[in-house]
């Protein structure tokens, strides 16, 4: 249970808190657009000032891109745990503006939702921590743990300078656990701990046939068509049952704890609703796994793009010189992007027909991540979320990838807790992004309680 004094402080300061959050959301800190570089710097400066105001020592570290703000409060003593909170203050571009009901950088509450670019991704969730920390310091003059807050301005553009910063400051950032609030709950009213992320191995496959485009009438039938060769190569990537058929692909897949799988099976997942959301007539993938297992616990191999020959209106009888596919594999523990690259290369070499030259180029890679469920931080999060939302949190997975999570776990050797307060349909990268006002209220309380419980 949350300390009554903290709870009352939240109630008393609610109006001012929204004013503060609105001010933060009004800064158009779009990291992808250089014309917003000043705004991104302003958002960093706003956070710097806020954390100083509540009692942290703050330093803004310039990078070759946008600055990293590191706020520290280390007065809990050597026996107290140290936690590192990570978040980001940059936002996605707001375009297309026309599709926003209210302006992207003019925060507006409608129907219990706070609409603004960055409201859920991730300024609103950063603010939850700022406000919970302020509550502790205001009510008690101290925090129950040593707290480091690391805030970057490049998450939406690939966190280019974060890993090097963490590695360079590993000693300073040493901690007992990392908390990240940049994800969503499974459903409204269901607090969630995100326990796994898939990794990624992204490739470009280029097939070179003849030296130049040929007339498909004059040459067709005797020249190997690179687009057809590519299709035949791609068709070998799965078997008839939807399993990836690249030899060795599943070798390093580690089984999932039965209680985690059982928990996922018990989630109130509505397949018909999912199908409607997707807009397809039927689902696909491995039939011996549930949909959530396919999305969270199983690796994939997808075509992300295809290009060859003539793609305009009407008919052009070209036998293309080249064909290209973008192909990416989502990975699960303990698959390694580099090992998958080797397997992909070997498989493509084995199935590529004579008469074309096929190259496989690795474009991007990221390791999968899975939390070790249990331990003081997780136990504290379970209890804090349970108390704030009135029900036990569920354990979820995520099919996408957040490379920084693996970086924190690997470089700092600390457990990472992904405790997010977004919701499905929150439009994180789309017009009309929103965060639930109820989740803001419950989120600050859950977070404030969590700080107390990690001390225990």
């Amino acid at each position: 249970m949350l300390d009554t004094a903290l709870d009352q402080w939240f109630t008393a300061n609610r109006s001012r808190a929204f004013d503060d959050l609105f001010a933060f959301l009004r800064i158009p800190s779009v990291s992808a657009r250089s014309e917003h570089n000043g705004d991104v710097a302003n958002a960093a400066a706003w956070l710097h000032a806020q954390f100083e105001r509540i009692g942290f020592s703050v330093r803004t570290h310039p990078t070759a891109g946008h600055p990293i703000v590191l706020a520290e409060w280390r007065k809990a003593g050597p026996d107290a745990p140290t936690i590192l909170i990570y978040g980001h203050y940059d936002v996605q571009p707001p375009e297309p503006h026309a599709l926003w009901t209210s302006p992207a950088f003019e925060p507006t509450i409608r129907d219990g939702k706070l609409f603004a670019r960055g409201s859920v991704d991730d300024k609103g969730q950063v603010f939850i921590h700022l406000h919970a920390l302020e509550a502790h310091l205001a009510v008690r003059g101290a925090l129950p743990a040593n707290v480091l807050v690391l805030l970057e301005g490049e998450e939406e553009v690939g966190s280019e300078h974060l890993e090097a910063f963490v590695a360079a400051h590993a000693e300073r950032l040493a901690c007992d656990g990392v908390i990240i609030s940049d994800s969503a709950m499974f459903a409204p009213g269901i607090p969630s701990i995100l326990s796994s992320l898939r990794g990624l191995a992204y490739f470009q496959i280029d097939v070179q046939g003849p030296a130049q485009d040929l007339h498909s009438g004059s040459y067709g039938g005797a020249v190997v068509n690179p687009a057809m060769a590519l299709a035949r190569i791609l068709a070998t990537f799965h078997d008839e049952q939807g399993r990836v058929a690249i030899p060795g692909f599943y070798d390093d897949v580690r089984g999932w704890p039965t209680d985690v799988l059982a928990g996922m099976r018990n989630l109130p997942f509505d397949e018909a609703h999912f199908l409607k959301e997707v807009g397809a007539s039927a689902l696909g993938g491995e039939p011996d796994h549930t949909v959530l297992e396919r999305l969270w616990t199983r690796p994939t191999c997808e075509v992300n793009g295809l290009l060859s020959g003539y793609t305009g209106e009407g008919a052009k009888t070209v036998l293309p010189a080249t064909a290209m596919a973008k192909v990416s594999c989502r990975l699960v523990p303990d698959q390694d992007p580099e090992r998958i690259r080797t397997l992909m290369q070997a498989h493509v070499d084995a199935v590529a027909p004579a008469g074309v030259r096929v190259t496989v180029r690795a474009l991007h890679g990221g390791r999968p991540w899975r939390a070790t469920l249990g331990g003081p931080l997780f136990d504290a999060a379970r209890e804090a979320l349970g108390a704030a939302f009135g029900r036990e949190p569920v354990i979820t997975g995520e099919g996408g990838s957040i490379p920084v999570v693996g970086d924190f776990a690997r470089i700092l050797g600390a457990p990472v807790l992904l405790m997010g307060f977004g919701l499905p349909g929150e439009n994180a990268h789309a017009p009309d992004e929103w965060i639930s006002v109820e989740n803001l209220d419950r989120g600050v309380r859950a977070t404030a309680l969590l700080y107390d419980l990690v001390r225990r």
Copy 2:
């Protein structure tokens, strides 16, 4: 043997003939570009004036596109045969200009080649007939046959109005044979009669997966990927041996006369040279057929274009909503484009996976054509070419399609003779288009002799 008087007339008029041809070639009659509409009309007017000058009655027929010039000389009497000569006065766009050694519309002779846009396709070959007809009329005041010359200005943009014109004027165009000089000889010094053309059935296959592009991490593994579905569909179009595997595809393929096949096997075809020209490491297609058989006598199924998802630089993790392929089949007698469409649709329906919607749209079709070898026109062409080039002509095929050939054969019920004077590497649709000067000289003589021999 060509009449000595005609031969001497060609020699005496050679210099003036090149002046005339150069004037024709200088007109940039690019039918595809509306800014050249005036030039296209000028080329028609030039032909109109020339045929009038040599003694033909000429009428220029407007169409919704570029005009059709019909020149007639019908004074050979009712017992003489009537021949229809078809050609086109429009040319391909010249771009890119930078790749031309001399300007596209400034005819230039280098190393025995006359370079200009339209030199071989088809102004130079139209000029061969004009000049041969002029020789007869100048030397003898008469032609040995009734001659109709039909010249269109839309061949390079699909001959959109030709079929309707021929059908509307079928009685007026009634003839004992059609001569078209718009093709190439097998090799330098080897006169050739083109005896077959492949037909075409061109499709666009669209695969619709989810209602919109999805994040490949969040959805990958449970949603059917339309690009992967398309690849798997395309991969069923051939078997492992390179034969088309669409059920029923070969049902209507009529066997080829053994003497035609034997003649093709005896052609001096250099596979290593072909491979070098193509620029691939190995050839493909049906291994139990020679390369020329694959190109000329066998039907194909080729991918002409592919498009899906993200095709730019780098990595984007999209699960595409749609995937598209342009696919075309080259057809041989007696395959029918409409029947192939039915088979393609049935096959795609049979192999398309659940979870995507696949549509097959027919974009373009054309029937294959095969000459009936033998008969007065062919016998005359064999002898005339043999005399002019000093060796027996060979019978060749063509993998591409020329729809008007089938139209003439079908509407007029007359045999069509394809007697071309181009050469391999002539760059018909590329920069530095050329025609062999020797072939111009031999071509006018062969053609003039042919007119005499059809009378026999």
